[in-house]
Structure formats: structure tokens, C-alpha cells
Amino acid sequence: MSRQIKHYLGDKDVQVILGTLLRVGVIVSTSVVLIGGIIFLLSHTHQAISYTDFKPEEAKFSSVAEIFKGLKALDGLAIIQFGVLLLIFTPIARVVFSIFSFLMEKDYMYVLIGIIVLCVIITSLYLDVAH
């Protein structure tokens, strides 16, 4: 009986940590996007903008390396893109977190399944699709 209660509490802890992780991920990434947005808007308020044609060759900050380079220069758009990157990594953090909780439960089959999912996602990070 006492063991069951302990297990239940463990599950609850996991839920609380997970909820916090998601909330923090969303709040932090939105704040970063907002800060970048303000910097960008202040310097480009009246600049004309048009997205009628897709021009991938003009895309700035389309890789993690470029985003970090822009961050150093405090470029508003780079800061926004960094916030977007944080947002993208929030669900991925959830996968990593789940793998650890499976590891603690000694459920090695699901540790493996989690790692497979993570590998697929990491592949997408390095996948260079022709424009």
C-alpha cells in the first residue's frame, strides 16, 4: 500500500515538472519573440513589406548558426527567430523528459522508442532540403 502511494506521488511530481516545463517554455519563447519584435518594429516601422513571392535565397536566419550570429549583433529578427527556436524545442524537451522518466521506471523498451523519436527529430535538424 505504502509503495503504491509513493508511486502515485512520483507520477504527480512528473506531471508538475512537465506542466512547469511547458509553461516556462511558452512564456520564455513568447517573451523573447516580443522583445525581438519591439526592436525590429522600432527600426523598421514604415519600411514596405511584401510576401507575394517566395524567395528562399533571401531568407535570413534560416539555420541555428545564422540565428546565433544575428543574436550577437542584437538583430531584432534574429532575436525573434531565436524565440521561435525555443518554441520549437519545447515539445522536443518534453520527449527528452519522457525518456528520462521511462529510464527511472526501468522501461527500456520505451527508452528505446523515445530515442528513436528523438533521432528522427534530430535528423530534421540536419536535413538540408533543396530549395
Partner: protein, 278 residues
């Protein structure tokens, strides 16, 4: 159009998308894409990139709200994510080789289908009868707490559900949407998972799947920060307020009105695609 005006229009639109998306359960992507393409003349490639970001934002935002209830079946989610993430990346790659007009037409049809699914009366097929060998092997069966103690449920048709997730993932990657409607079919109708579990579990999967696609879209230059900024802020604000209203409001009438709007947008998208993006 000036940067400021564009930002304000997208911000308001994304706010409404997040609000209506969370009130009706349809998700943000289905409104963001028509808003940007039909409303503001944005190229579909950029619209898809912005939409996938809104999908992640809605998923993580509502997951943080749901997680306290503790009924997500992480094993089912993780197991099916093998299918959804791999096929989502395939979907993004397929999108590179398909003419943009065809993608717009496919999107229109998925929009029609989503409107239909939203109005359809949902039936809970869950039971605790004999389950499949695969569900046992992968430990997919579970239980959720009720007033009368934990309720057990058995998962059925694992192969069928897994196959459905391949289709859902491909469309998610191809169109930059969450594919919630298809995931519901896979989990509720095929695998017979109870609503209480399928809603949150599918939300978990939507976020993870979208993040896999989003990374590829980022590299393809389809995620433009100047569009992503108002979309992210608008959708998150709208979805958060929507989730609060949802607790104390009936949304049946809103769903009907919204389905009509979505149908109208869907037909316009199909027309736009068929006439070459006029």
C-alpha cells in the same frame, strides 16, 4: 504595405485564430493559412511556415493547461510519434516537389474535412474488452481516474492506428497543420481510446510532430521572423484566453457558425489553387 500595418493586421488575425481555435478545438493553423494567403496575399510557403509555428504554440499552451489532469498516455503518444514524426518530415520533402497550387487545393479539402469533423457528434468507443497482442506488447493499455476509482481501457487495432498516423503526419508536414482531425479518427475510432485520454495525447503528438516539420521548414527559409512574430504572440494570447472562456461556455452554436466560415474559406482556397493563385 508597411511593416507596422502588416504586423497589426496579422496580430489581430492570429489572436482570433488562437481564440476560435481553442474554443472550437480546431487548432490555429486552419485559420492562419487562409488569413495570410487569401487576406494578405502572402505566398503559401511563408503561410505554411507561420502556421506550423502557431500549431506548436497552441499545442504547448494547451498542454500546460491540461497536464494537471494527468491523463495523457505518454506510451501511446511516444509509440505513435515514430509514425507521425517520420512521415511529417516526408511530407515536408514531398512539398518541395509539388506545385504550390496543388498544395493550396489539398489544404482546401482538408479544411472542408475538418469543418465536417468539428460538427460531427463524437462517440466514445472505448471499452475494456479483449485487446490486441501488439497493444499488450507495447503496454499501450491504461487507465484514467474517475469519481469511482480508476477506469481501465483497452487499445485496439494498433496497426490501423499506426497507419492512420502516417497519413496524419504526412499531411501535417505537407500543409503545416496539426492534423488534429485525422489523429482523432486514428485514436478515437480505430484504436478506440477514450476521449479523456485521446484529446491530451493527440495534443502531445501534435506538438512533437510539428516541431520536427518546423525545423525542416526553418532550413528551407519558410519561417520568416517578421510573420512569425505577430503570429506567435497573437495565437498564444488568443488560445490562453480561449481556454479560460471554454470552461464556462457552451460552444455548440459557435461551432456551427465557425464551420460555415471555414467551409467558405476552404472553397476559396480550392478556387484559388485551381485558378492558379489569382
Amino acid at each position: 504595405m508597411s511593416v507596422l500595418l502588416f504586423t497589426i493586421i496579422v496580430l489581430i488575425g492570429a489572436f482570433l485564430a488562437g481564440l476560435l481555435g481553442s474554443l472550437t478545438g480546431l487548432g490555429g493553423g486552419v485559420i492562419i493559412i487562409p488569413l495570410l494567403t487569401l487576406g494578405l496575399g502572402v505566398d503559401i510557403h511563408y503561410a505554411i511556415g507561420a502556421s506550423i509555428i502557431s500549431v506548436i504554440a497552441t499545442s504547448s499552451g494547451s498542454a500546460a493547461a491540461y497536464v494537471k489532469e494527468g491523463i495523457t498516455n505518454v506510451r501511446i503518444g511516444m509509440f505513435l510519434e515514430i509514425a507521425t514524426t517520420a512521415s511529417a518530415i516526408a511530407g515536408v520533402i514531398i512539398a518541395t516537389y509539388i506545385k504550390a497550387d496543388y498544395i493550396i487545393v489539398i489544404f482546401g479539402f482538408i479544411l472542408l474535412f475538418s469543418a465536417f469533423m468539428m460538427l460531427r457528434k463524437k462517440v466514445d468507443h472505448s471499452n475494456n474488452e479483449k485487446t490486441s497482442i501488439l497493444a499488450n506488447y507495447f503496454k499501450l493499455n491504461g487507465s484514467y481516474p474517475t469519481e469511482n476509482g480508476p477506469k481501465q481501457y483497452a487499445v485496439h487495432h494498433v496497426v490501423g492506428g499506426f497507419a492512420m498516423m502516417f497519413i496524419a503526419g504526412t499531411l501535417s508536414g505537407l500543409l503545416g497543420i496539426g492534423s488534429g482531425a485525422l489523429k482523432v479518427i486514428g485514436m478515437d475510432n480505430i484504436m478506440k481510446i477514450p476521449f479523456k485520454v485521446s484529446t491530451t495525447t493527440s495534443n502531445f503528438m501534435i506538438g512533437v510532430t510539428a516541431s520536427a516539420s518546423a525545423l525542416v521548414y526553418l532550413h528551407k527559409g519558410q519561417i520568416d521572423p517578421a510573420i512569425a512574430m505577430p503570429v506567435t504572440i497573437g495565437v498564444i494570447t488568443g488560445a490562453t484566453i480561449g481556454a479560460k472562456i471554454l470552461i464556462r461556455t457552451k460552444t455548440d452554436k459557435l461551432k456551427v457558425i465557425f464551420a460555415i466560415v471555414v467551409t467558405f474559406l476552404a472553397l476559396q482556397m480550392i478556387y484559388k489553387g485551381l485558378t492558379g493563385g489569382a
